[in-house]
């Protein structure tokens, strides 16, 4: 009975005695933790599916004639569908929901000191939309004439009836529109929570950086996702209702359509999207660096402003994805300049991370190891993007594996590592148990090294001129010199896939058998660890805490004189013997 007895159930919050059972059930159903967990598990499923597809892609690259387990030998049609679905699944169904849906829904209310997200019903609605979008995506896999195989960029006319008869693309568009609706709802909820549900005393500059990252992401989602959804709807109109908005050339009956319009709409969303997929991770890295270096983050406000500057710039750089479409040289130059400008706030952000941990005594616990790996991988991916910002160099690398390696490192690998760091960090908070440190560290470090191997080698292939989206990359002895690189990339990818079993095993073991966690295992001061009791009750905080200080109060000046520990809770009142802070301090 001891094991069963240890299984924790959420203790119900104090309820008015007259509350009927249905109301109780409703409140449980609307709890952000429950909704967040549903997001987490669904996104884990998507991650597994997307990851297996990545393995299949790399299998194909080693030998296009080989038979892939469970899939057989891939036809060009199946292979193109494979990389299309991999992109869609990973971006819209795995990384995005893991960061915003799962992390945002699960931890944001705890970070700001709220009992729930601002709009619990909208939160549940967004989950339903997400699940519906997963349904549409899966339905698309079984569509007549095959799933969408246009690449995740869905450029018309390839994605219109001209290039994609059958209903695969229509299902994919439906999935994107539903998914976008879900993300917009989550984002509205996150913003509303940040604006309206902060605990008393929780000023904006006392928010953990993770909360800033989530807020910025929400802003980007709300600004730019509707553009993608509008583009998707217009494309749907072209496909199903006889429109010709994006169709030109031999298939057009009217002279007014323009395929480029879709590219503008797509990238207007598509570039901010890469920041959508990394901003929450940036915030988390900033927080974890501070917590585990036992220091306030270096120049908190500059980090927040740098993230804000990147958010602003992200909407003004999108046409660097379109340097090859023949825009005017003035436009190209403007977009190139703005793109290069993004490195300035990015450098400030990165340097602030470095200054936070430099010369500190860093506690290399698994969340910190994950954050370091995420920052490292992000830095390596970030620098290879510089050459894609200048037109001359971009034109030599456009559509090559250099681009693929670059964006996988920044918004794929780095984001996933941050997700793993977040899981290691908040696992005790939500389960009451600790993950196994050794296995977690082994998984994180190995994953980071393999990520760099896989996508670093892709840079080499791209540098040698190898293009992406090749059914047979070495067809007719092309790029023979790059063959070892291709094979090496694939083998590293297989190992990377297998390496994730460590995480699966550790996660499952920790969930069931992990050692019990104390209240504040990482000794940090943020509200979720210091103001909410250990089995997390239904509404998080027995009483809403009054916040007195920032989230990273590790400096000597932040602590009461004679403090025996190096941290203090955000809402913690110093012991009466100490001098009471007169006005809450700055």
């Amino acid at each position: 009975m001891s094991v069963g007895g240890q299984r924790r159930r959420l203790a119900p919050a104090p309820m008015p005695p007259e509350a009927p059972a249905t109301v109780d059930r409703l409140r449980r159903g609307l709890d952000h933790k429950r909704i967040g967990r549903a997001y987490l598990w669904t996104a884990f499923g998507a991650l597994l599916f997307g990851g297996l597809m990545a393995i299949a892609i790399r299998w194909q690259w080693v030998n296009p004639q080989a038979s892939i387990p469970f899939l057989g030998q891939l036809t060009p049609s199946a292979y193109t569908a494979l990389f299309t679905q991999h992109g869609l699944v990973m971006i819209f169904f795995a990384i995005g929901p893991l960061l915003m849906g799962a992390m945002g829904t699960l931890v944001l209310p705890l970070l700001v000191g709220a009992r729930n997200l601002a709009f619990p019903r909208i939160s549940r609605l967004s989950l339903w939309f997400y699940l519906a979008s997963v349904g549409a995506l899966v339905a698309g896999l079984f569509a007549p004439l095959g799933p969408a195989n246009t690449g995740w960029t869905l450029y018309p006319p390839l994605s219109s009836w001209v290039g994609s008869p059958g209903s695969g693309v229509s299902w994919a568009l439906l999935a994107l529109i539903l998914n976008g609706t879900s993300s917009c709802l989550v984002s509205a909820n996150v913003l509303a929570t940040l604006v309206g549900r902060r605990a008393p005393g929780m000023t904006f500059f006392r928010l953990p950086l993770t909360a800033w990252g989530l807020g910025y992401t929400a802003l980007l989602n709300l600004m730019f996702l509707p553009i993608l959804m509008a583009g998707g709807l217009l494309l749907m109109g072209d496909r199903l209702w006889g429109g010709e908005v994006f169709i030109a050339g031999a298939g057009a009956r009217l002279p007014a359509g323009d395929p480029l319009l879709f590219q503008h709409l797509f990238w207007m969303f598509g570039h901010p999207q890469v920041y959508i997929l990394i901003l929450p991770a940036w915030g988390l890295i900033g927080d974890l660096f501070a917590h585990f270096a036992r220091r306030p983050p270096h120049w908190y406000r500059a980090t927040v402003s740098a993230m804000g500057a990147i958010v602003l710039l992200s909407g003004l750089v999108y046409a660097h994805h379109m340097f090859t479409v023949g825009l005017t040289s003035t436009l190209n130059r403007a977009f190139s300049t703005l793109t290069l400008l993004i490195s300035l706030p990015s450098l400030v952000l990165y340097l602030n991370w470095l200054f936070t941990i430099s010369r500190a005594r860093v506690r290399l616990k698994s969340p910190m190891v994950g954050a370091i790996c995420a920052a490292l991988v992000f830095g390596l991916g970030g620098v290879t993007g510089l050459m894609l910002g200048a037109q001359t160099t971009d034109l030599q690398l456009h559509d090559t594996l250099w681009v693929v390696g670059h964006f996988h490192l920044t918004m794929g690998a780095s984001s996933f590592l941050a997700v793993f760091a977040a899981i290691a960090y908040w696992f005790p908070r939500f389960t009451g148990r600790r993950m196994h440190e050794g296995w977690a560290n082994l998984h994180l470090v190995g994953t980071a090294i393999l990520f760099v191997a896989v996508f670093g080698l892709m840079h080499v292939s791209g540098w040698g001129g190898q293009h992406r989206r090749q059914v047979d990359p070495h067809d007719g002895e092309r790029f023979a010199a790059l063959r070892p690189v291709t094979v090496g990339t694939s083998h590293a990818a297989f190992l990377l896939g297998a390496w994730q079993l460590i995480f699966v095993g550790n996660f499952a073991w920790s969930l069931l058998r992990g050692p019990k966690s104390e209240q504040n295992p990482w000794e940090v001061g943020t509200l979720e660890w210091t103001a909410a009791p250990m089995p997390l009750p239904l509404e998080n905080f027995p009483e809403i805490p009054t916040v007195l200080r920032g989230p990273h109060a590790y400096a000597l000046s932040d602590l009461p004189p004679g403090a025996s520990r190096d941290w203090i809770g955000q809402a913690e009142r110093p012991a009466p013997s100490a001098n009471p802070a007169p006005e809450g301090g700055a």
Partner: protein, 267 residues
């Protein structure tokens, strides 16, 4: 007490960084057959070195800080001082100016050089229209009369034949979906988009046969959509064009739907 060890580790780290740089530096290993390709190549090499240097410095710093290879600081009121903030600002600005500035100015210089090269021409350029379609490139030469869409146009499939040392100007269209034309040996790439005309130009300077291929995903056989650029001596080109042009006039089939895809050359 630990001042020796971090110093040693730093030296090892620096050495590893230099090795990495030395191993990876240089322009892409793709043959260059154009007069101006070296400008692009130099910027590519510079960009790679600068990016790698930035990446290596950032990564080593991160690891050194994480593993405590930097000398520890005593616990202070705050490590976040006026001086350290200045350091962040200055370092960010310096790195930005060096790396991005070099790419920006280099890009500007290459673009200007290419534009100038397009302007000054001793000979009229060789003009070719390209129609990209799934999954081949059609190349239309204007024939002897020098005008497009006339009966003497020479149309080739997947083989672009041009004379050496003459400026090549391409105008591209696509009839079905978005394609791209990349000719790595000439360091050029652009998309071919239904409903509009895009342009490329280069000056092939080395005789030989070079690959060209589609650089935008255009469907299941995208990976097979490629052809050759044949750079031949000027006399051979003239002779070939004359012969093909005359043949084209004799073979003219007014009912051929592919006959008239050309367009009046856009200025």
């Amino acid at each position: 007490m630990s001042s020796e060890v971090p110093g040693l580790r730093w030296r090892v780290g620096r050495l590893a960084g230099l090795l990495l740089l030395a191993g990876c530096g240089g322009a892409p290993p793709i043959a260059d057959a154009s007069r101006h390709g070296h400008l692009t190549d130099r910027l590519m090499a510079d960009g790679l070195w600068l990016s790698l240097a930035l990446g290596v410095v950032a990564s080593l710093w991160l690891l050194a800080a994480a593993f405590g290879w930097l000398p520890h600081q005593a616990r202070v009121a705050s490590a976040d001082t006026r001086r350290s903030r200045w350091a962040v600002g200055v370092l960010a600005l310096v790195a930005f100016l060096i790396v991005d500035g070099h790419l920006f100015l280099g890009d500007l210089r290459v673009r200007q050089a290419l534009a100038r090269a397009r302007e000054d021409q001793q000979h009229p350029p060789i003009r070719v229209q390209v129609n990209a379609q799934r999954w081949s490139f059609l190349f239309r030469h204007p024939g002897i009369d020098g005008r497009f869409n006339t009966a003497d146009d020479v149309v080739t499939v997947n083989a672009l034949r041009v004379p050496v040392g003459r400026r090549l100007e391409l105008q591209l269209g696509a009839s079905d979906v978005v394609h791209g034309l990349r000719i790595p040996a000439l360091r050029i790439q652009t998309d071919a988009i239904p409903g509009r005309i895009t342009r490329l130009s280069a000056l092939p300077e080395q005789e030989g046969s070079w690959e060209l291929h589609c650089s935008q995903h255009c469907g299941v056989a995208h990976y097979r959509m490629r052809g050759t650029l044949e750079v031949v001596p000027a006399e051979r080109y003239e002779a070939w064009l004359r012969a093909e042009s005359e043949r084209a006039m004799h073979r003219e089939d007014p009912d051929d739907p592919h006959r008239n895809w050309g367009w009046t050359w856009r200025p």
